[in-house]
Amino acid sequence: MRAAGTLPATARIGALVGGPSLARAAIVLGAGVLLVIVAVVVGVGVGTSGLAGPLDAAGILAHRIGLAVPVSWSPGAEQIVWELRLPRAVTALVVGGGLATAGVVFQALLRNPLADPYVIGTAAGASLGAVAGLMVPTLVPALALGAGTAWWGIGLAQVLAFAGGLGTMLVVYGVARTGGRVPVVTLLLVGYAISSVLAAATALLMFFAGNRLGAIFGWLMGSLGGATWTDLALATPLVAAAAAVILVRWRRLNLLLLGDGPAAHLGLDVEREKLILTVLATLATSAAVAVAGTIGFVGLVVPHLLRLVLGPDHRLLLPTSFLGGAALLALADTGARLAGGVPVGVVTALLGAPFFLVLLRRTRAIGA
């Protein structure tokens, strides 16, 4: 971003399609992996009960993966580490990584600094789906099936959230397409308009939600509190596959940064690429939202933050954003847990936004 405005076009293209030096990339990625490991260790080792400390947690994990470790902890501690803290930390990684990756893609595709994973209606569609899913047991008691609303461990709200996110993106994309092209501004505006309609429908459902309102608010604010291994088993392959396919398309994302016209001149099938990248980013977003609700901030700010530090090259920006988003959300969720269960989006914004502002001012000062 620093260089983009000042270099001549040819040099810019060279910088964008080339790559970072291997040594620098290795250091940055190594730091990212280390940060993720720290986030998981902290997330698994601390909690509100004080029953399972970091040493117990390490022992329990070693025991669980089959190492012969003397058992010095209570069954409750093992349950806390293995069934509460670990799935929660790993879900935070998957969700945070998926959202940050999707944020990178949408910011590049739409060339809009305010773009986030939810910008073309994914969040509004997923919210409507989730709210509908949460209300079905009230409206149609026969579908409630026992105590929870789960079928084979998958909540109806999760299925509908995923479908709602993906379906909304497809509708928005279809409406925005004119003459075989999808202009970026049209896509943003259609996304905004359809989001408004869906948000109104969600508000209408909430008006009739009665005693489900608490569950709905919890979902809309985003939470990793209900994370289970089952949820994770469903979301992880989707997020991982989408992020991996996005990563191998880093060169095309770099080209798209130049604008639709220049990218096409350089031989990119721009419309096809936009659709592929939009679908991939929406898949990751919808899977993340289905397990954790609409967690804000991570997908918007992590890509910006890393772009300020590392520059706009997607070869490095994509993997570091995944790692950065994963670590940030895992650390923020640990903070949220220790703070008595406040919404994790509040923690990410409270801690991340001031840091981002400082970095923004410092970088701009250097640039000027």
Binding site: Q79, A147, G148, G210, G214, F217, T228, G296, A349
Partner: protein
């Protein structure tokens, strides 16, 4: 978005605390309580021998779930102040190992570990308490997501959600059966039945004024007794005709309140907020025309806690309501 959402939370919690639930199948605990001769005098009820509980026992809770109690529970976590009071009423106070930060009665529970803070259930703390029984509250007071998570963790969860004075007795009987404390539960139920009977006698034949019980007013939303809630049933027993709100959210539109034209307004929220008085209520736009305001029948209810908490102290709450609605029948 987040801020807007957060502002809605306090009324929501208040609403859920008080909420009535859907009308429909009678709760199983009613069936359970019918085993105790209802309306019998205290001596009569305690004369009926209560069988000891043989474990494992299967009980049906107020969410309609069949819950298997493997052995006499020794470590109990209570996720609501009302369920804490019920456990203590049947003599299980010493077996509580986790309560909420709202718990204040009996005094001895104040020192127990808090597993619910600010209405948020801390599942890790619940697991760490290693309970063999978790008492939860229904109608979303303990969120469904938390209930299913506790189920998945293999904990034994009993959901209590009484919708009338009788059902409070039913829940006490249910907990008594669960904890092999049937005799203590029967004494409590008889005590409540006696109190209900004596209040009914005291207000018999009196006019039944329309009573609006104000649980709270938040951002223009008015919360009161929900239709078919235990609070509405208490007002009826106390000789009033309750103005009720929605069965699950307990909210009521101002227009509907004005149309219902209550003759008595009882300010439960005045117990926590000194700015809520008969004068400030009369000054609210649209409230001045109601009969209760014109006649000066707007009363603060310092006993709100025992009126709105569906536990054994419902007898005190009932008496406070009856005294407020029919002061002439209580030497007032």
């Amino acid at each position: 978005m987040a801020l807007r959402v957060l502002r809605v939370i306090p009324p929501l919690i208040a609403a859920l605390l008080l909420a009535a639930c859907q009308t429909g199948a009678p709760s199983p605990s009613v069936v359970a309580s019918s085993a105790i001769p209802s309306g019998a005098s205290g001596t009569g009820a305690s004369a009926v021998p209560v069988p000891a509980t043989h474990y494992p026992v299967v009980v049906t809770d107020d969410a309609g779930r069949d819950v298997t109690i493997a052995a006499d529970p020794r470590r109990i976590v209570s996720l609501a102040p009302s369920t804490t009071e019920i456990a203590c009423a049947v003599g299980a106070c010493a077996e509580l190992v986790g309560v909420t930060d709202f718990d204040d009665y009996p005094a001895q529970v104040a020192g127990l570990p808090k597993v619910v803070i600010g209405a948020q259930v801390d599942v890790e703390k619940v697991v760490a308490a290693e309970p063999d029984l978790v008492l939860a509250a229904g109608n979303g007071f303990t969120p469904d997501a938390i209930l299913s998570q506790l189920d998945d963790l293999g904990l034994t969860v009993l959901v209590l959600y009484p919708q009338s004075a009788d059902e409070i007795g039913g829940d006490i009987t249910l907990v008594g059966r669960t904890l092999d404390a049937g005799a203590a539960a029967a004494r409590e139920v008889a005590r409540i039945d006696d109190a209900v009977a004596s209040v009914r006698t005291a207000v018999a034949g009196a006019d039944r004024p329309r009573v609006f019980y104000e649980v709270g007013v938040f951002e223009g939303q008015i919360f009161t007794a929900g239709a078919d809630s235990f609070l509405a049933s208490l007002i009826q027993i106390a000789g009033g005709d309750p103005v009720t709100g929605d069965a699950t959210t307990t909210s009521l539109a101002l227009e509907d309140l004005v149309a219902a034209d209550p003759q008595v307004i009882l300010l439960g929220d005045a117990a926590y907020d000194a700015t809520i008085t008969a004068e400030t209520v009369a000054a609210r736009p649209g409230w001045g025309e109601m009969t209760a305001v014109a006649d000066g029948h707007v009363l603060p209810m310092p006993d709100d806690l025992v009126i709105t908490r569906p536990g054994p102290r419902v007898t005190e709450g009932l008496l406070a309501l009856a005294r407020a609605i029919h002061p002439d029948r209580f030497g007032g």
